[in-house]
Symmetry: C2
Subunit: 214 residues, 2 copies
DNA sequence: TCCGTAATTATGCAAGTGTATAATTACTAA
DNA sequence: TTAGTAATTATACACTTGCATAATTACGGA
């Protein structure tokens, strides 16, 4: 009989990887990057630590995958709420609101992001993910701004729309950051309201939707 | 004679603390938070590791002091360039420009900041420093905005000036972040230019200074 | 000049780290 | 039913970590 090992079932690679990634993100969000050790990750995922090296060639690689996962989740969260229907201005408005309210604005999500972002200077894969994520967000914003301006009958040179997108992106990022870092400093809905007002001023357009319920 | 120890001189506590703090910041900026071990810090500071526990009750305490130091340096850098003389609009303009050009905008400074900021959720002292730093920056911005508006003969309700300050702060933070994270994505002076244009639009004022040299 | 004190160095320690490897076990296909 | 194989677990290893403590040394006041 020898020593009794814990029983296990074989699972598809994608499921195992996802479990490891989720465990990594949970640990990092709850207790910081330092808490995401191979043993803690494996424990939280309910498997043995050998699995990390089996599915990822190194812990570093798992971290990169977790970063990618987190950023994709945030991207999807901003795209979820009806950025598809309605006028361009409406879609832009929804996009901004989604970006500046929970669950996108969230202390855990912000801390997680910060725990990753300092790595982009030293890790090429992390840098690449950051670059891709940033441009993806900004390009979507730029498309919405351009469409909203055209919709309002304004001619907008591409260079100007680009600068608008950079500026609006910065407003959103800044407010998102501050909402995550000091959650008690802002009333509910305040970040979105300030974001919309600022973006309207920057691109020279007004949003027409009625006040949202608080 | 026994074993030969390295010779040393006694130095004032402030000097030792500063050496340790500087070493910590350098290591964290160059190689990330994980590289700032007690041994590496002591080596870089040119003293033995026992000094860390002698001047700080724990490594954590040194990290907090280093964070405080870094944020104060950034604060001073934004205050340096003539935010004292000239019209309020000029001072606001200088403040924004200083915040959106090197050495404030800097990949190392940004990575350093990110390496710290994820700790504010778990460490009360870090959280306190962040809160203080954030409000200090925003309050200075709010004062400048209020003065600039009054100067232009506009009446501005305090609540409105507050919202303006939150928004302008977000623009600056966002641009600062993006400039540090993707230094090649923006031309020299572009961040400051976009920042000034956006802030002018948000508070409804124009900056009159001539174009700055690139 | 010399002694006491505190700063400083050196060393030790228990715990934890990522990774490598060996031992087992579940599942598949014949 | 039974091999074979790949997934999974368990364990070992070399190294690093933060902290504690003992041994030394510089310096100021008598």
């Amino acid at each position: 009989m020898s020593t009794s090992r814990r029983s296990f079932t074989r699972e598809p690679p994608e499921q195992r990887k996802e479990a490891l990634i989720t465990a990594t993100l949970t640990l990092m969000a709850e207790a910081g990057p330092a808490a995401a050790t191979v043993r803690a990750i494996a424990d939280k995922a309910g498997i043995s630590q050998g699995m990390i090296r089996h599915y990822f060639s190194t812990k570093e690689e798992l971290i990169v995958a977790a970063y990618e996962h987190h950023m994709q989740a945030m991207t999807e969260a901003t795209a979820a709420q009806g950025s598809q229907t309605g006028t361009a201005a409406d879609r832009l408005e929804n996009f901004v609101i989604a970006s500046l309210t929970p669950p996108v604005v969230d202390p855990s999500a912000m801390a997680l992001w910060a725990g990753f972002i300092h790595m982009i200077r030293r890790d090429a894969a992390m840098r690449d993910t950051h670059r891709r994520t940033y441009y993806n967000f900004r390009d979507r914003l730029e498309a919405l701004i351009g469409a909203a301006l055209r919709e309002a009958g304004q001619i907008a040179p591409p260079a100007k729309v680009r600068r608008h997108a950079i500026a609006c992106n910065a407003v959103i990022d800044g407010l998102w950051l501050e909402g995550g870092a000091l959650p008690d400093a802002f009333d509910e809905g305040e970040l979105a309201e300030i974001g919309l007002t600022s973006i309207a001023a920057i691109i020279g357009l007004e949003f027409h939707k009625k006040e949202r319920a608080l």
